[in-house]
């Protein structure tokens, strides 16, 4: 959504107009879910994160809070905070083979398992980053956001985003280089 469109729909959302709220959910829920899944690696947790993100959004509107613009950035920030809290609460468990999600049914089983294993290693590596570093590179390379959008989302200048991105990649490189099975 563009800034002006965000503002318009947020005005209606603040009046709790069902149509506006429905539009927001339809527009952003898939992205929030994806974002959560990529970082959490668990469908149920991702669903919980998505549900909680929209619930907190409604609560913020009720309390005259919430964004005046940049709705997407606001929602992702909620999701990111939820994920960060989850990381703090609990170390992500080792992914059991039976819980492997077959995201690509046409792929060979060994390829799927290998992908899942790699995904887990990357997630474990992300867990070692600071929340800001994790958010920056997630938005940048997973959600493919521009730096200025990330800067808006994180309430930081673009320069700070670039610095965070740089340090995050360096850290990831160091972490994953220790893993012999992972090709950096």
């Amino acid at each position: 959504m563009k800034k002006s469109r965000d503002q318009a729909i947020l005005v209606r959302a603040r009046r709790f107009e069902s149509q506006a709220l429905e539009e927001i959910f339809d527009c952003f829920s898939p992205g929030i879910y994806r974002y959560a899944y990529r970082l959490l690696g668990d469908a149920e947790l991702a669903r919980e994160c998505m549900s909680e993100t929209f619930s907190r959004f409604l609560t913020a509107l009720k309390q005259d809070g919430g964004p005046d613009e940049y709705l997407q950035a606001y929602l992702y920030r909620i999701a990111h905070n939820w994920i960060t809290d989850y990381y703090r609460r609990k170390t992500p468990p080792t992914l059991p083979i039976e819980s492997v999600t077959l995201s690509d049914l046409k792929a060979e089983p060994h390829r799927i398992v290998a992908d899942q294993m790699s995904a887990k290693e990357v997630r474990d590596a992300l867990a070692f980053l600071t929340p800001d570093q994790r958010q920056v590179i997630s938005l940048k390379y997973l959600e493919e956001w521009k730096n200025d959008a990330i800067a808006l989302s994180m309430n930081k200048p673009v320069g700070a985003i670039k610095a965070l991105q740089h340090r995050a990649l360096e850290a990831l490189y160091r972490i994953l280089s220790r893993d012999e099975d992972f090709t950096v």
């Binding site: 709790f16 709220l21 990529r38 077959l102």
Partner: protein, 319 residues
């Protein structure tokens, strides 16, 4: 940002790019939950939605009213309880005022009279109250005799105690007041004597010794008052001697006899006696019943009835 960094970033995070699509049923379920939450908030908190403001205001008012009503109810309940106790007690005491000696409420009547007298400090007022009580006793005697009942010792004792108390009060007054006080006493005693005489004339068969003794006591009251009117000092000395005599009489009288002639502490005259002031006998020993060192003074030996059948003159008995 270097291009190689971007490529590295994309490559390193590539394993996370693949995500399962969310089940449409789950999406619909989450959406419904979200919209229901929104609707709930809209109904409860959004101004102008339905009658939310009115409802919230009503709730606040309702709570406030409930608090006020509760406080009011508590206050009313407390007042009601107090009223019930007060009115109930007052009614009972009021009802007791019509009771006669020997009836269950008479004790309450006696207590209420004693309390009233004990909270009155002015000698004049105490005298007036005492004289009023003597009138009550005469009324009680009249009603008892009219009903064909005999006069209980309790009523007789109380009446005599009040007559004596009136004289004692007068004797403690200054010369300027003593004459007026004695005039009142005399007047009351004369009227009461006449009332008793009329009763005896109307009901000669009721003329038991107790009534006759009361009549004689009323004559004595008039006589003592007359002496005091003319010579207050002599009257005071006479009263002093009477008090001493009564005190000695009580000390030396066995309880079985004493109970018939002298008022008991709980039902008769509120005026103190010498014995009450000094619980020890003339020998300096505590008053005790014979053959029972453990018993309370004056209680007697329970193994021999009331313990008063064989009084020991050397040991005083409490009446």
């Amino acid at each position: 940002m270097k291009k190689s960094e971007d490529e590295f970033g994309k490559r390193i995070l590539a394993p996370l790019q693949s995500t399962p699509s969310l089940d449409p049923k789950i999406v619909a379920e989450e959406k419904n939950k979200y919209l229901l939450q929104a609707e709930s908030i809209r109904q409860r908190f959004i101004p102008g939605s339905d009658t939310e403001e009115v409802r919230v205001a009503d709730e606040v008012l309702s709570v406030h009213r409930r608090k006020q009503q509760y406080a009011l109810l508590r206050g009313v309940a407390a007042v009601l309880v107090a009223l019930i106790i007060l009115v109930g007690s007052s009614l009972t005491v009021y009802a007791a005022q019509d009771s006669l000696p020997g009836e269950s409420l008479y004790t309450l009547k006696a207590i209420s009279e004693d309390v009233r007298l004990s909270v009155t400090h002015s000698p004049q007022a105490r005298l007036d109250i005492t004289l009023d009580y003597t009138n009550r006793r005469v009324d009680e005697i009249s009603q008892l005799l009219a009903a064909g009942k005999s006069l209980p010792a309790q009523a007789s004792e109380r009446f005599q105690g009040e007559l004596e108390g009136a004289l004692l009060l007068a004797s403690q007054m200054e010369d300027t007041h003593i004459v007026n006080a004695l005039e009142k006493i005399k007047s009351h005693a004369e009227n009461q004597g006449m009332t008793i005489e009329q009763l005896l004339n109307q009901l000669p068969e009721q003329a038991d010794p107790a009534i006759l003794r009361l009549q004689a006591r009323l004559y004595e009251q008039v006589e003592m008052s007359t002496i005091g009117e003319h010579d207050p000092q002599t009257f005071r000395l006479a009263m002093h001697e009477r008090q001493n005599l009564n005190s000695q009489k009580h000390k030396s009288t066995p309880a079985s006899i004493d109970r018939e002639t002298t008022p008991s502490n709980d039902s008769t005259t509120p005026f103190p006696t010498g014995e009450e002031e000094n619980p020890h006998n003339s020998n300096g020993h505590p008053t005790q019943a014979p053959e029972n060192e453990d018993s309370s003074p004056g209680e007697g030996n329970p193994s021999t009835g009331n313990g008063n059948h064989n009084p020991d003159p050397s040991r005083t008995q409490k009446p």
